[in-house]
Symmetry: C2
Amino acid sequence: MARDTAVTRQKLLGAARQEFAALGVAGARVDRIAELAGVNKERVYGHFGSKDGLFAATVGAAMDELTEAVGTPGDDVAQWVGSVYDFHRERPELLRLLLWEALHHPEPDVVGEQDRAAGYSLKVDALAERLGLAPGPEAAVTLLSLIGLAAWPSAVPQLSRLIVGSHVAEGELGSVVRDCVVQLAGRMAGGGSASERAGSGHETAVADR
Amino acid sequence: MARDTAVTRQKLLGAARQEFAALGVAGARVDRIAELAGVNKERVYGHFGSKDGLFAATVGAAMDELTEAVGTPGDDVAQWVGSVYDFHRERPELLRLLLWEALHHPEPDVVGEQDRAAGYSLKVDALAERLGLAPGPEAAVTLLSLIGLAAWPSAVPQLSRLIVGSHVAEGELGSVVRDCVVQLAGRMAGGGSASERAGSGHETAVADR
């Protein structure tokens, strides 16, 4: 790809992320994205085919950043969940894109589905290996649930505030939720390995609180 | 409340749920809701004050239905999570309303906040008692996380499909995810009580799969 083409593409993806995260698929306007990127509107279609194509590329790029930042589930699955939690708190755009996508596309297919499924498949394999499971449905649902555990407090911040807000000092909500989410993740993931469960200290930490 | 007033209110709430769940707060139109309910538009403002007031009442009514259907966390916390999971799969409106609310109101306040917080507080207390915890931050985050565990697969169905879809036969996704979510919930909640953990059989079930 020629350098100016790559630069244009990056500019468009940056502007699209801002527009789609704020307004969703239906609310976003391609001409506003082009203007924000300082690029001719026609080039959007040249690069991405359609608004849906641009949205898919935007989600894909944001997802790549998450994977780069947090990697696949490693030796300490609970700490991996903590990293995913931090990512979503610090960079809310990806989660907003996923929620807009869910609200916009209830039907069962997503543009760019294969690449995204392949990315998750690597994470399922890593988690399965870590937990001593076959890479099958259980490992897949466990990955889905660990991601949910990490993402949920930022996906619905109003629920975090309504449920936890009265129990913690203002400004400490994020870190209190994080600590507890990491503990719960350890307990959830620990089920796959008795020795890890016994040695993790999570239950002791809970009992001490 | 006079009967015809109560009936009008119910009609408006039903129409509002449909409109808000489909289109969100920004996309919904009060005149369309009034028309759908067969009620004069002015009465919407008489009953609910504003579109935000109507949205808040709509969320409150949907939340009351959830609470009526699933109750507070009882003796078997994992089965309670299963009931919450079923509710969201069978009646997607409440979850859609909560996602729209999250996307629309990133700022820290929600109309009708006190009633909703009080409702969650009862559930935190019930869960704390069940798990032998003080009704504090840990119990609150555990409730938030158990709700997330139950709701997440329906909140982002595209992720459920991308992550779990290749591992299960079509049409079985919902029940496979449910079984595993209930197991994971048992493991998460079991941490609060060693005797329950030992007797729950969840780990055996996992190891047998």
